[in-house]
Amino acid sequence: MFTGCGVVSGQNQYFNRPHPGLEVNRPIQMENGVTSGTCSVYQDQTYSNAGQPAVVHSVSTPLTPLPVPPPALKLGQEGFKKVCRTEEDSPCPFPGLASGVLEMRVKEGSKIRNLMGFAMARMQGEKDASGGGVSGGGLRQVVFTGSGRAVTKTITCAEIMKRKVGSLHQLTKLRYKVVKEVWESAAGGTSEMTVHRTVPSISILLSKDPLDPQEPGYQPPETLSALWEEKEGVESSSQTACKRSHGPLPYSSFPHSKRVCLGDGVSVHPPH
């Protein structure tokens, strides 16, 4: 339904965007107090194209009030098209990280074979370089980041690398990324709106060197199967605590009903 909107070249993620956008925005509407300003809409920002007149034009009426419902759908319906999409720079999610770490930015259209081909070569080190004994097996760390629909692909890349390289320490961070979109009226071409929306993003640090195990989101190497047992051990305590507080109702009722059933079965048999 969005194909009617013109797309500026380089916006290759556009066509698939609306869906995650909707999903993202729905919860945000509920949390306006917290993520204040993320959905606010501005008119006639100075980001307008050079050729645009600087005159302030009022956008068509339903869009003028500030608390606008999900922008993507609304804008598309109102004949707006997206002219610009920029991700705001956010600080590195891994504070003490060296500056030269390879960062793989996974996009929705990225091919896993391309990403992995590049990243694996860097992590394993070029064959001739390791022959010289200089690099000693390539880089020590790599970061995979992706947002929106690319999150799944990002995780997949990290999982493949863990499997191929082996004994990698992992640190996973989740957060919202702020994306600024500039929308332009298709009808007049004179009014613009800037939409700030938040997109969930993931950053995965894979390291050959040990990382801080206390950091939330840390995963030691080779947790393929150990993940569950370890977690179960941790959470068994909290589970028993909850059983004590909430358990009695369901747990007492179940055995009781079973006994009733048994009693029925027994009582049926004797007459035969």
Binding site: I112, I155, T172, K173, L174, E235, A241, H246
Partner: protein, 151 residues
């Protein structure tokens, strides 16, 4: 979904030697029609504070369920799991929980690979097709949402 089709498909020639031609996987499948049945993921722990996010249930309902567990249910931590496409939603839920707690809640995300099994059943029993299985991998995320310092 986007994950390797080819590794899985490569096992097919061994199971059904009829199709050993080196054509593309899609063509290989043609001679006998199969019904693809996706088995459910391998059994996973289901505690009271585990939330398995899916794409069928309404997002707000799943978010509300998590909020209930944390606020009314007296849990110090819950574990939100998402597989494949539901990863996004799981992350969204976790981030929403964190945001609505004014940043008190913390997130600890772990990722994993889940092996999934598909059954291939021949459509027409008269033809020479044999039932096959095919395994593929999908990514999953497990987000622990917790109040720090549980004392």
């Amino acid at each position: 979904m986007t994950e390797p089709r080819n590794p899985g498909m490569s096992s097919i020639p061994q199971a059904a030697p009829v199709h050993t031609d080196s054509t593309s996987p899609a063509v290989e499948m043609d001679p006998v029609e199969y019904t693809l049945r996706k088995r459910l993921p391998r059994k996973l722990p289901k505690r009271r504070n585990d939330v398995y996010v899916n794409m069928k249930t309404d997002f707000r309902a799943q978010l509300a369920r998590c909020q209930k567990l944390l606020e009314g249910g007296g849990h110090r931590e819950i574990c939100v799991h998402g597989l494949g496409l539901a990863i996004n939603r799981a992350i969204n839920i976790a981030l929403q929980l964190q945001a609505s707690s004014q940043g008190v809640l913390q997130l600890a995300a772990n990722t994993s690979t889940v092996e999934l099994v598909d059954d291939l059943e021949p459509e027409d029993p008269d033809e020479a097709g044999e039932p096959m299985t095919r395994t593929r991998n999908n990514s999953a995320i497990h987000i622990k949402v917790f109040y720090p310092d549980p004392q």
